[in-house]
């Protein structure tokens, strides 16, 4: 490291043959200086907290008072932490509910807009709008429309004759899960659409032309050509939506605060409450470490998929 920083500017001609000639126009020192600020930010606000988290997780870490070393207690206690286990269960359930519909809806939308038909550009924009608006704002809009007797969700269902329009969506765990799942599926499938659409457009047209000559039907072309050729893109968008679901917080915080009771408490919401409501930072951080490991494993899968693609 210091060799790079303090090395005398050797002329390229007398550099050792094994070493790459030092660039005069792009001196290594300048390169290091260019990346240093970004690196410092990441080190201070992402990597240091991670190291800090590991440290905290082995203590009781109260906000006020003596810090005591707690060894593995926090980790051992995870097994007895029914609230956390329930949150893990609920998060997995929620992930299982929304993942496939997001993929299927995203795929259907991508099929709709992948050609240069009239209006396809407008449709792409519109399908992606909810994702751009973001789940925070969408949750506030949903909050109004989920009210019994007055919200649009109930008005529409009543108009269709499915309910009497008085459903209190947000005070029942199951109903709230249904409502939030529908909101999220609607809100984020635009992202899956864009990723799949780019993948579909990259498939050479000759493949379909020859499939046509062989008499393959639309379904056969979709099943035998498009989906196999999109395997990695599909896997990527699955990984992306799974990570998003595992980290779900905003929509639950705004719409149900994790209730009633803890019926709709996700892992991040549980950790948030443990740390900032119950002020048990040590045990909250131990739970965080578990989450970091799980998400890192899924992200590593994402990077692996990308590398395999090249």
């Amino acid at each position: 490291m210091s060799a790079v920083l303090s090395a005398p500017a050797a002329a390229p001609t007398d550099a050792a043959p094994a070493r790459r000639a030092r660039s005069l126009t792009h001196p290594p020192r300048t390169g290091l200086l260019l990346v240093a600020p970004a690196l410092a930010m990441i080190a201070v606000f992402a990597l240091a907290p991670l190291a800090f988290a590991l440290g905290i997780s082995f203590t009781n870490w109260p906000l006020i008072g003596e810090v005591e070393f707690a060894g593995l207690t926090n980790y051992v206690n995870i097994g007895n932490d029914l609230g956390f286990l329930r949150a893990v269960g609920y998060t997995l359930l929620y992930t299982a509910i929304v993942t496939l519909p997001i993929l299927v809806l995203g795929y259907a939308l991508a099929v709709l807009v992948r050609t240069r038909r009239r209006g396809a550009t407008l449709l792409r924009t519109v399908f992606f709008l909810p994702f751009v608006v973001g789940l925070t704002t969408l949750s506030f809009i949903a909050l109004l429309e989920a009210q019994p007797g007055s919200g649009a969700v109930n008005l529409v269902l009543a108009a269709l004759g499915l309910t009497d329009g008085s459903t209190a969506w947000l005070v029942d765990g199951r109903l709230a899960t249904v409502l939030i799942s529908v909101l999220v599926i609607w809100g984020v499938s635009g992202l899956t659409m864009l990723l799949l659409m780019s993948g579909m457009q990259a498939i050479p047209r000759e493949v379909y032309e020859s499939a046509d000559l062989d008499g393959a039907s639309w379904w056969q072309q979709e099943w035998r050509i498009t989906i196999p050729m999109l395997r990695r893109t599909i896997a990527m968008s699955l990984v992306i939506s799974v990570i998003g679901s595992l980290l779900a917080f905003t929509q639950f915080y705004i719409l149900t605060s994790g209730g009633p009771g803890s019926a709709t408490t996700t892992v991040v919401l549980h950790i948030y409450k443990r740390a900032f409501v119950q002020l048990q930072l040590g045990s909250a951080t131990a739970l965080s470490i578990v989450l970091v490991v799980v998400v890192a494993l899924v992200t590593a899968l994402q990077l692996r998929l990308l590398r395999g693609e090249e």
Partner: protein, 296 residues
């Protein structure tokens, strides 16, 4: 080649059935995706008591600007929160773009011994979702006196957006031909001048992508702002709206929430529609998407 005319641009056969399905499906889906947002817009000009009442034809279309007026003058004053959000989002976009441009140039064009390790750190940080390290991050920022500070929030948001920004800018610089820089060097231009004058037009689309993502992410960011801010005067828009919702300022008025949602929506929709090509270009194959983008 007579069959070419009956194919669409993806090479698939174009049939009347498909065209009809496209028209029907497209129209239906258009409604599903626009009506809820348009409905939200409509709600913002309804009085709060109409929003929570069973719809009555007599009052349902009594449109009013009172929600927006109340947000400016009333007890739940959101103007300050909008200002805070704007400051945070603009500063985050500017800082992220500057830092990502510098680092992207460094990684794309310079050879230095620490480069592989440094780049690995950037990528590794994408695997650490801030949602999961919130507790230690809070403690650390508290120690650095960066909680209850818009600067702290800017630094936090910038870090969250940096890995994606660095990847985008590295790609942007890599695709610029090296001869351009060489001739500038011969003319005696400094590294700074080369980036800000010679390379600027070529890397501008990448920089726009980074700035757009950072702005939108910071504008809608919720969990961090909720955790790091306790001073009401510093609340960003989403946090101020949660306080409206939870009745911190007295009775909940759903009209205010509807109007606040519209204010929150406007910059997102306007920026996205205007700068869409940069947004889609940034998406690529999803390589730069970090958990922060996905869970928003």
């Amino acid at each position: 080649m007579s069959s070419t005319s009956s194919r669409n641009d993806t090479g698939r056969r174009e049939t009347r059935t498909k065209r009809v399905l496209y028209a029907v499906g497209g129209t239906g889906a258009f409604g599903v995706f626009t009506v809820p947002l348009a409905w939200g817009l409509f709600r913002s000009v309804q009085p709060g008591e109409v929003i929570v009442a069973a719809p009555d034809p007599a009052t349902f279309f009594d449109l009013t600007a009172e929600n927006f007026v109340a947000l400016v003058t009333g007890p739940g004053n959101l103007i300050r929160a909008v200002g805070n959000s704007l400051v945070v989002a603009l500063c985050t976009a500017a800082l992220t773009t500057v830092l990502a441009t510098a680092a992207g140039y460094g990684f794309a064009r310079f050879r230095f011994r620490a480069a592989p390790v440094a780049f690995a750190l950037v990528v590794a940080s994408m695997m650490v979702p801030f949602q999961a390290i919130l507790t230690p991050l809070y403690l650390q920022m508290n120690l650095m006196r960066l909680t209850d500070s818009l600067l702290g929030l800017v630094l936090f948001n910038t870090t969250v957006n940096l890995p994606f920004g660095v990847l985008v800018m590295r790609n942007a610089f890599s695709s610029v031909p090296g001869e351009l820089e060489d001739s500038a060097h011969i003319d005696g231009a400094s590294t700074f001048r080369i980036v800000t004058s010679v390379l600027r037009p070529l890397i501008l689309p990448g920089a726009a992508t980074v700035a757009l993502y950072a702005f939108l992410a910071a504008w809608t960011e919720f969990l961090g702002a909720l955790t790091f801010l306790t001073d009401r005067d510093l609340y960003t828009l989403p946090v101020a709206m949660v306080n409206l919702q939870q009745g911190t300022y007295g009775d909940i008025n759903f009209g205010y929430i509807a109007a606040g949602s519209v204010i929150a929506m406007i910059p997102c929709v306007v920026l996205y529609v205007a700068l869409q090509r940069f947004y889609v270009a940034g998406l690529g194959r999803g390589e730069g998407l970090s958990p922060a983008h996905m869970a928003r």
